[in-house]
């Protein structure tokens, strides 16, 4: 049993490592492609050359074609510099202004309001409806819902996520919101700390995301009853009974859209930004930065809903992830299909061993 889980863990680790190394390989391939493209651009540059040479012959001293090329940021093989370094032979890069407008404009403004509005909507909901309570009295019998491995993966990811989210918010919105509160020296010191935490914990978050996906994917495939759940989402918020497996449709959406999709997007773009030593161009990093910020803001907005329902929004849900067990009444009310499978012994209680008897997972009395 133990040996088996270790082997399982090793397999997961190496798959994670392989996926982790993929972006680096891609970046290198891209670099090679860029070099090849640069070589291929030379004839094109020579093609553009006669325009300038012709202009020199007809209108001496008129360098308009050349300056147009410089202004457009088009680089050719005849643009050189003695100063070593990346992109030092580019006189003017025009993409930076576009990046500035997109980042300082829609990304900051709409992104900021998205987070604020998501928070306010949840606050309003909590104020109007309050916590969704259990309808049946607690039975006192506990069912194992999350194994210790699942809880370790979840909480590591969660803590890293919160640190990344807060430091990211500092870097994107802090100047407008927090700088006036803290003042320059304190805000700068906090942002230096945040930036370094962000850059060093970022790669850990990539690992966490992979572990999350491998750990929880099994119970997150959509089933037919998930459509019923989605149709009755309003009933769920009103605290009425809706059918759900081990994870309900909302949790599944959070898994596929948040953890997997947005997690993958912020991971890949984050690695591009975090390792400038691989020689990415400014344009690559500008694009990566915008995608990173948009995905991260969306992820943060979604996470607010997940955190709310996992803590103060739904009675008993925090204890499930904190201690790993849930009351039978809670399981029956919120995850009835999973509960019936556990009781019938068809389903392992919390995804540990398929042969594990449900009775062994059930414990009398209080929480472990």
């Amino acid at each position: 049993m133990h040996r088996k889980s270790v082997a399982q863990w090793l397999v997961r680790f190496f798959v994670a490592l392989a996926v982790l190394l993929l972006p680096q390989a891609l970046a290198q391939a891209q670099e090679q492609k860029a070099v090849q493209q640069g070589a291929a651009q030379q004839p094109g540059a020579a093609q553009g050359q006669p325009a300038e040479a012709q202009r020199q012959a007809t209108q001496p001293g008129n360098n308009a074609p050349m300056w147009r090329d410089v202004r457009s940021g088009d680089i050719n093989a005849y643009q050189t510099t003695q100063v070593r370094g990346r992109e030092t032979n580019i006189l003017i890069q025009t993409e930076g202004e576009m990046w500035r407008r997109v980042r300082n404009g829609p990304v900051t403004v709409y992104g900021g309001w998205l987070v604020v509005i998501a928070f306010l909507v949840i606050l309003l909901f909590y104020w109007r409806r309050g916590e969704i309570m259990l309808h049946e009295p607690r039975t006192g019998r506990e069912i194992l819902r999350f194994t210790s491995w699942e809880r370790i993966v979840h909480w590591t990811t969660a803590i890293v996520f919160v640190i990344l989210a807060v430091s990211g918010i500092f870097m994107l919105f802090g100047r407008y919101v927090l700088l006036p509160i803290f003042g320059y020296p304190i805000f700068s010191a906090l942002t230096v700390l945040g930036k370094n935490l962000h850059n060093f914990l970022g790669p850990l978050f990539v690992v966490c995301t992979l572990l999350m996906v491998f750990t929880f994917i099994r119970d997150n495939f959509f089933r037919s009853y998930d459509w019923t759940w989605l149709r009755k989402f309003g009933d769920f918020l009103k605290g009425r009974h809706v059918p759900a497996g081990r994870f309900n449709a909302g949790e599944k959406i959070w898994f596929w859209l948040g953890v997997l999709t947005l997690g993958a997007v912020v991971s890949v773009t984050g690695l591009v930004l975090d390792f400038p030593n691989f020689g990415q161009t400014r344009e690559t990093m500008q694009v990566a930065n915008v995608i990173h910020a948009v995905a991260a803001v969306g992820y943060i907005a979604l996470s607010l809903g997940h955190i709310y329902l996992g803590t103060i929004g739904l009675e008993g849900s925090y204890d499930a992830m904190r201690h790993g067990t849930v009351d039978e009444a809670w399981a029956k009310e919120h995850h009835d299909i999973w509960y019936r499978e556990v009781v019938a012994g068809r389903e392992r209680p919390a995804g540990s061993s398929p042969t594990g008897a449900p009775a062994s997972a059930m414990k009398e009395g209080g929480k472990a």
């Binding site: 012959a57 001293g61 050349m66 580019i90 390792f275």
Partner: protein
């Protein structure tokens, strides 16, 4: 108050890289950092031109706009400076700058770039003028000594001009309007067409010879 500007006359720049060396020497810039560089366009082809480029001290500076900690400031003379004590080394100014002016001492993994360094128009930084701390972080404060930037001051062909924008504009305008003669004069070809087609044309009485 003067509005400080750089101007590089591409007709005069000979790519000697003297400005780069002068800047490095005057400000004792660390290895790997180049506040100024010379870019040659159409290198080895007819119409080759060179340009010296550094921070252009923009009126609407993109670096100032994107800095997450707002560490940039503009002096009353229009010089864009930054506070290295506030800089977090994120590299955003480098993404935004059209001229590639912001420099970082490192390019390490995990985004460890060090504090940003860039051309100060030889105007130091927020520290006390001529203090040791100012020199260590930002280099010489020549403006406070009543001098102009070292790069422009030593330029052997006076291609690179640095100083009050009005004065520089006057110098450059004079150069442009008096440079060359006959059909070499700037704008002649644009106004009157190809030089070789002018001569065979019917000689007009009173036409320039």
């Amino acid at each position: 108050m003067a509005r400080m500007k750089f101007l590089c006359d591409a007709e005069r720049c000979i790519e000697c890289n003297g400005c780069v060396t002068a800047c490095k020497n005057e400000n004792e810039i660390p290895w790997g950092v180049n506040r100024r560089r010379v870019v040659t366009l159409n290198d080895g082809l007819p119409g080759e031109k060179s340009m010296s480029v550094a921070c252009m001290h923009c009126s609407d500076a993109p670096c100032m706009a994107v800095c997450p900690v707002d560490c940039f400031y503009k002096t009353s003379e229009g010089v864009v400076l930054h506070d290295k004590d506030l800089c977090i080394g994120c590299g955003y100014c480098f993404y935004a700058c059209p001229f590639g002016a912001p420099q970082f001492p490192q390019d390490g993994a995990f985004g460890l770039r060090g504090k940003m360094d860039k051309c100060t128009f030889c105007a130091g930084g927020p520290e006390q003028d001529h203090s040791a701390a100012e020199f260590r972080k930002y280099g010489r404060n020549r403006l406070a000594e009543g001098k102009l930037p070292a790069c422009a001051e030593m330029c052997s062909t006076k291609a690179l001009l640095g100083g009050d924008g009005d004065v520089i504009a006057d110098i450059y305008r004079t150069r442009v309007t008096t440079r060359g003669k006959g059909s070499d004069v700037w704008g002649w070809g644009t106004a009157y067409g190809k030089p070789e087609t002018q001569a065979p044309a019917q000689p007009q009485p009173g036409a320039k010879s």
